[in-house]
Structures are given as C-alpha cells and as structure tokens.
C-alpha cells in the first residue's frame, strides 16, 4: 500500500495569457481531510478541475495509490472513484432530488429503464445521512440554495468515492447545516475516505482538517504539511504572503450627511421583506450575508431589474419609482458593478473604449449627434487613467486584460456615467491581492468625493476594511446594522451572531 492515496506532483497548467498553476504538488493520505487554501485566483479551482479530469495538466503527474493515472474526462475520474462537489451549481433544476443524486450512474447505462421508486428509496439513504429532510421526488428548483448544496454533497457521496473533493461546500450553509456536514465528513474519514476540503472560513479548516496545502499565485506556499500547530494568522500569512491587515482608516462621521439612497419597508418580487437600508452621501455601507441571503437580488431590485412591490425607495431624499435599469442609471444616477464581471459586467469581445463608454452613449447622442470615438474617448479617458487601467490602448479587447484591469473598467464606466450611488457586488473576486488593496483605496476615495457606495461582499476582511457601517442580511431580510470599528475579531463575531440569532430562534 502506497503511503499516499492520491497525489498530484509538479502540476503546471497555463491558459492563454495566464499561468494558472506552476509546479504545484499535493499529497493526500487515506482516512484524512486535507485543506486546500488560497485566495481567489490562486489556482485552487484549476487544480480541482485537473484532479477531476476536466482540464489536463501541461506538466506533472497524478497518482492514485502510487500508480500514475491519466484522466481525460469527468467520467474517467468517477470511474476511479474520485468524486467532487463543485463550487458552481451542478444540478439539473427540473429533475428530482433523487435523479440528480444518481445522474452520474444513469449516464453510464443509457438504455436501462429507470425505476423511480427504487431510485428514490436509494437516495433516501444519502439524504438521511446529511440530515436533509426533503422528499427525493421534489424537483431541485424548488429547494433553497442551502438544500441544493446539500443535494450536491449527497450526489458526490452516492458515487462511493475514495477520494472526495469539496470546493467550498459550506459557502451557503447555515452553521447548523455545517455542523451536520462536518459530522458526516468525519465519519467518512473514519471509513477511510481521503478528502480535499476547500474553504475560505479558516475556523472551519482548523476544526476539520488534518493536513494543509496552500496555493499563492499558482504556486505552493505550503505543501501537504500537518495543520497542527498552525494558527489562523500563520495560514493567512501563507495565503497572502504577509500578515492579514485591516487598513487602519480613520472612522468617518456621517451624522450630518444626507441620505443618498434609502429603502423604507421595501418588499420585492424576489422575496425580500421589510428592508430598511440607508446609504448616506460619501458613506460606504457594507451588505454582508451568506451565499443565497438575497444581497445580489436586492441590488438588482434597487437598479430596477426586478420590481419593488411594497415600501418606498428614496434617492437624495425623494421617493422615486425606478422602472428600469436605464431609468436607474440615467435619471437617478445609480450604477451597479456586477459580481459576475464576465457574464453581466463587461462585453469581453468589445474594446475598452466600447465597454467603458457604454454608459455615456445615450448622453452623448442626446441631440442626434454622432457617437465618434473621439467624443467617447474624451469622456472616459480621464477615468481610465485615474484608475490606472493597464492596457496598451483603448482599442484593446477587454477579454485580453487581467481580472484586475477588467474590474477597473467595470468601475470606470460608472464613474464616466457620473453616478451618485454605486453598488459594487463582490469587487475583488478573481483579482490579485495588490489590485484588491488598490481597489479598496479607490472605493474609499470615491466615497470621499461624495459618492454613496453599497458594497456586497462575502469576504469578511474586505468588508471590515471598506465599510463604514455593515448591514447583515439573512434569508431576504436585514437582521441588523452595525457600525464598523475595524476590529476584526469583534466585528466578525457580531456579524455572525446576527446571522446565528435567526438559527437559534
């Protein structure tokens, strides 16, 4: 028996323009839980995709119980009993819970008739294991995000995996569900399963894991070392290459400032209830919550993409009706930087000029004047320069720029539009640590000039760095608003207790 059940040795992988992984190694023991840590963009997901046969490495070797293996497709990995819970949603919405759990097995026998009662009976076992009380015949689309996540875990368990990869399985779970999951994972470990656990929540990692591998900028910052003896600060230092720092910005006082955006008793068609929220001029309000709490959805209601059904929305103190996104931008001066930069924020196949200029076309073309490149350029160039976007020219396609520069352009286009309220959703997803710090300063400067900023983020340090006040959202309601003291321990425990309070009740 080899010492390690699964090994990835000297893995390198590059995508056009990016070196995603460089000589990365990882060795997983039988009957243990191995933490994989790293910042967004450090290469964790790429490594997981290589281990599960979605991507093939440019260099390096995968070994299962000491024997080199080649994986060319997800099926290959499954056949070798390597299971995975991916970070992104991996379910067929209209299919039942039971069928989703057994989808992998079904795909292998295309002509064998399905027997649903049997299928549901078998899936019951995995649902019980996870303490998940849903009927296996329920369509997945009717479940909450947290339950969907648990179904995905059941799906991986049903494969009877020897090696199980879990990419942020707790991101949308409540503390109670997390505890149940951990019990299951520990039981699996005792049964001999080797698990790789990816999480941003270092407390969880400390509680659950045995070994740790840390990636930083696509390289090993730590390679399969025992977790024992490593504290939170040690792990952070490995992840970001320095100690965790909450910028020591002075607190600002907004007692006298006028509200730029206020929601009063707002309910929305997406299911928000009694939302009270005020962002004052020049203030940064953080909106914190777990995945699925309804934050992005609230932002989309504010910008008029979905309807507000009750309550009032006030802009600069005046009650308004925002009928459409165009209305929000051009009449009320609200901009929204999407968390999904590539799908919702930018048009990757268009140039920097076209992307940054998209919000000013309407204004420039107002009197029937032609939209010449020169006129657009003169409007957006100051902002592109101010944000220090690194691009060879404004004609460069946005798709060819780095994540950080793409993010700067999604901010620049709103600055060019002259918005007074800017909603920024997960500003630092997929950008490196330096750009992130820079982006934070930028948002702070922006607020100093009087723009009201609403920041949505799941990154606790980012939240505590940026926000003047923090509103905590859970299950489409605001649980409370607290003033940020920039003391990490204090703030994180207050935020979590606001979320837990609901759990306990």
């Amino acid at each position: 028996m080899a010492e390690f059940l699964f090994e990835a040795l000297g893995i390198s992988k590059s995508f056009p323009g990016v070196m995603a992984l460089q000589d990365v190694s990882l060795q997983m023991r039988e009957a243990s839980i191995h933490a994989l840590l790293g910042e967004n963009g450090a290469g964790k997901s790429t490594l997981i995709k290589i281990i599960t046969g979605i991507h093939r490495p440019d260099a390096g070797e995968l070994r299962l119980a000491g024997t080199p293996i080649e994986l060319t497709s997800p099926r290959d990995a499954m056949a070798k009993r390597i299971g995975v819970v991916h970070q992104e949603r991996n379910l067929i919405p209209r299919f039942s819970v039971g069928e989703n759990i057994y989808l992998e097995q079904l795909a292998g026998r295309p002509l064998k008739p399905l027997r649903y009662p049997e299928l549901y009976r078998q899936s019951r076992k995995w649902l019980d294991l996870l303490d998940l009380d849903v009927d296996p015949a329920t369509p997945v689309s009717r479940l909450s995000v947290a339950k969907m996540q648990l179904v995905e875990i059941a799906k991986a368990l049903a494969l009877d995996s020897r090696v199980l990869l879990l990419d942020e399985p707790t991101a949308s779970l409540t503390p109670h569900e997390t505890v149940t999951l951990f019990k299951v994972l520990k039981r699996l470990r005792d049964d001999g399963v080797s698990m790789l656990f990816v999480s941003h929540k270092l407390e969880e990692v400390g509680e659950l894991c045995d070994q740790v591998t840390v990636l930083r900028d696509g390289r090993n910052a730590a390679h399969s070392q025992p977790l024992q003896g490593l504290g939170r600060q040690d792990l952070v230092q490995l992840m970001i290459g320095r100690k965790e720092q909450i910028a020591d910005w002075p607190a600002r006082n907004f007692a006298a400032a006028t509200p730029a955006l206020a929601l009063k008793g707002v309910s929305t068609i997406l299911g928000h209830r009694d939302i009270d929220l005020t962002v004052k001029r020049g203030e940064i309000l953080g909106l914190y919550g777990l995945v699925g709490a309804g934050r992005t959805e609230l932002a989309k209601c504010i910008i008029g993409q979905f309807a507000v059904t009750e309550g009032s929305v006030e802009i600069q103190g005046k009650a308004v009706k925002i009928a459409s996104v165009a209305d929000a931008i051009h009449r009320h001066g609200i901009g929204y930087v999407s968390e999904d930069r590539k799908a919702e924020g930018l048009i990757l196949m268009h140039s920097v000029l076209a992307n940054a200029g998209i919000t000013v076309w309407r204004n420039l073309g107002r009197h029937g004047l032609p939209l010449t490149d020169g006129r657009i350029r003169s409007r957006i160039e100051p902002f592109v320069r101010r944000l220090e976007v690194r691009t060879p020219s404004l004609a460069q396609l946005v798709g060819n720029l780095s994540g950080g520069n793409q993010q700067k352009i999604s901010v620049a286009k709103w600055l060019a539009a002259g918005v007074k309220v800017l909603i920024v959703d997960e500003p630092s997803v997929g950008i490196d640590i330096k750009t992130k710090a820079y982006l934070h300063e930028l948002l702070r400067e922006l607020s100093d000039t009087g723009t009201a900023v609403l920041v949505i983020t799941s990154d606790m340090p980012e939240m505590i760095t940026l926000a003047d006040r923090i509103a905590v959202m859970n299950d489409y309601r605001i649980e409370g608003t607290i003033t940020n003291t920039r003391d990490y321990e204090e703030m994180s425990s207050r935020i979590m207790s606001l979320i837990h309070r609901v759990e306990a009740a």
Binding site: T52, N90, F95, P110, K112, L114
Partner: protein, 321 residues
C-alpha cells in the same frame, strides 16, 4: 381552486382544455365537424404533423433548434417515392432506406454541431439548404408519380372506424419518445443536457454523444413524417417539408416546451398539434381564406409563449420553500 392550480401547473392541462373547447365550439357551429369522415381527415393531418413536431421537440429538449426538419423530411419522401418508381424497390425496404437517409441527415447535423461547437441554428440552416438542393437535384423539381396502390391505400384509409392506418406509426413513435424522455437514461440525459449543459457534463454525461443521438432521432422522425405524407398525398412531391418549420416549433411551444431546453412534453406537444389541426379544419369548414391559418398560427404561438411565461412566474415563489 386547488384542483385548478394543481393541474394548471402541468403542461397538458391548458392545451387539453383548449382542445375540448375548440372541438365543442367548432362542432356546435358546424355539425359536420364531428362526422366520421371529418375526424378521419383530422387524424390524418395530426398523424403527420405530430411527427413533424416531435422531430423538432427532441432538439428543443437539448436546447437547440433544427431548421432542416422539413428538408430532411422532403429528401426522405422523394427518396422513398423515387426508389419505388425508378428502382422498383419493394415498399418496406424503400421506407426503411428513406428513414435511414433521415437518420443520416440528422447524424451529420449532430456530428458537425458537436465537433465544431458552432450553433445548431447556423449548421442546420446550411444543411437545410444542402438537403433541399440534393432533393431538387434528384427530382429536377418534378414529382414521382409511381406510388404503389398499397401505399396510397395505407396513406388514406382507416383500419377501424375513423382511425387511419397512418396514426399507428405516429402513436408508436409518440409512445416511444414518452418512454424515452421519462423512463430511459438516454432520454433523461437529453433533458439534462438541455436543462444545464455544464452540470450534465460534470456529471459524466457525454454532451457530444447526447447531441448526436438527439439529432439522429430528429432526422429519423422527420424522415418518417415525410414518408407518411408522401403516402397520404399519393405522390412524391419535392415540395414536401417546405412549410413544416413554423408548425414544428408551434406545437411544442403550445405544449409548454422551454426553448432554452430541458423541458418538453410529448403529450402536450401532441395536443398542440391537435389544436392547430382543429383550427385549420375550422377555417376550411367555414370557408375562410387559408392565409388566415398562418395568422392564427402566429397568434397561437404568441399566446402559448405568454402562458408559459406566466406559469413560470407563478412557479417562482415556490423556489424558496
């Protein structure tokens, strides 16, 4: 009310209601509508149009579209007629070869789409032109007249009461598709690929193979429709299939199919075909200008899409249960 909201969520309830209402209204205005002969004519149209609709439905299920349904049907129809007239081939082998041609046409579509990753719209637009061109090259736009009497008979005569022979193959195909889409893994894979292609791939489903299978089925069913229409018209018309496109989308959509894929219903699609047939028939009975059929069909599609959209909204709040 509870009864209504429960059945209101199924795909077949709305179309069934419309079918019954339409039959009652048209039947009371024109008693000859419910005559045995008229029902037989109606069923003949339904038998062929249902196949046309199924052929598109299976592609809608994977979230794509097949513009070449009519071209494949036409090519199979003239091949079937031509092989019997020119080569004096017996009926059964000619029909099987015709279906094989359709199957091949579909496989070519599927292989090109899944190998290149180019959208099905563009690929089937091109193959529509190619298959139609081959059709015209073979026939020189002239029909084949040499259809054996047995085929002519089967294409029109009833075997029991008003039930025509033609509905037998359609019923078999319809039942087979229903079985496949609800009970066989391959059918579930087709719906999974349409429902969430990425998730299906990560679950080990071969997207490539599934897409090819769907297009192959689509081609074979379109060919069968062409062959049945050839039997019914008693002539190998090169123009067979030219006017199938709108109907092929209309019936599945009336039957609640989601055009982005992942959800289709064989039963409701069939009812969609029946509704279109009743309306067409009614317009004929009342001597209304046939151009109106097209207008009514268009209005029907808009109406159906609107209803589907409404149902989706009503389903939404349930998501957060």
């Amino acid at each position: 009310m509870q009864f209504l909201s429960r059945y209101g969520r199924t795909d077949w309830f709305g179309p069934l209601l419309v079918t019954i209402l339409a039959a009652i209204i048209v039947g009371s205005l024109s008693p000859s509508f419910l005559s045995a002969f008229n029902i037989q004519v109606l069923l003949l149209a339904v038998a062929i149009n249902a196949l046309v609709a199924y052929s598109q439905m299976i592609i809608i299920a994977i979230g794509e579209m097949n513009l070449s349904v009519g071209a494949i049907g036409g090519l199979a129809a003239i091949s079937f007629a031509g092989m019997m007239q020119v080569w004096h081939m017996p009926i059964l082998p000619a029909a099987l070869l015709g279906i094989l041609i359709g199957l091949l046409g579909g496989i070519i579509n599927g292989v090109i789409i899944s190998l290149t990753g180019i959208s099905a719209f563009v690929i089937t637009l091109a193959s529509l032109s190619i298959y139609k061109g081959v059709n015209l090259g073979i026939t020189e736009a002239q029909p084949f007249y040499g259809i054996p009497n047995l085929v002519k008979h089967l294409g029109n005569a009833p075997f029991l009461g008003p039930l025509p022979w033609l509905i037998i193959p359609t019923a078999i195909v319809g039942f087979g598709l229903w079985l496949m889409l609800t009970r066989l893994p391959i059918g579930r894979c087709i719906l999974a690929v349409g429902g969430n292609r990425h998730a299906a791939e990560l679950s080990g489903i071969s997207i490539r193979l599934t897409v090819i299978v769907a297009h192959a089925l689509s081609g074979a069913i379109a060919a069968l429709a062409g062959i049945l229409l050839c039997a019914r018209l008693q002539i190998g018309q090169p123009t067979i299939g030219d006017d199938w496109l709108i109907l092929s989308f209309a019936a599945p959509v009336i039957g609640g199919a989601v055009l982005t894929g992942g959800h289709v219903s064989v039963g409701a699609t069939t009812l969609g075909v029946v509704i279109v047939a009743i309306i067409t028939e009614a317009l004929v009975l009342f001597n209304i200008d046939p151009f109106l059929v097209q207008v009514v069909l268009g209005v029907l599609i808009l109406w159906a899409v609107g209803i589907n959209r409404l149902r989706e909204f009503r389903l939404k709040p349930l998501r957060r249960a």
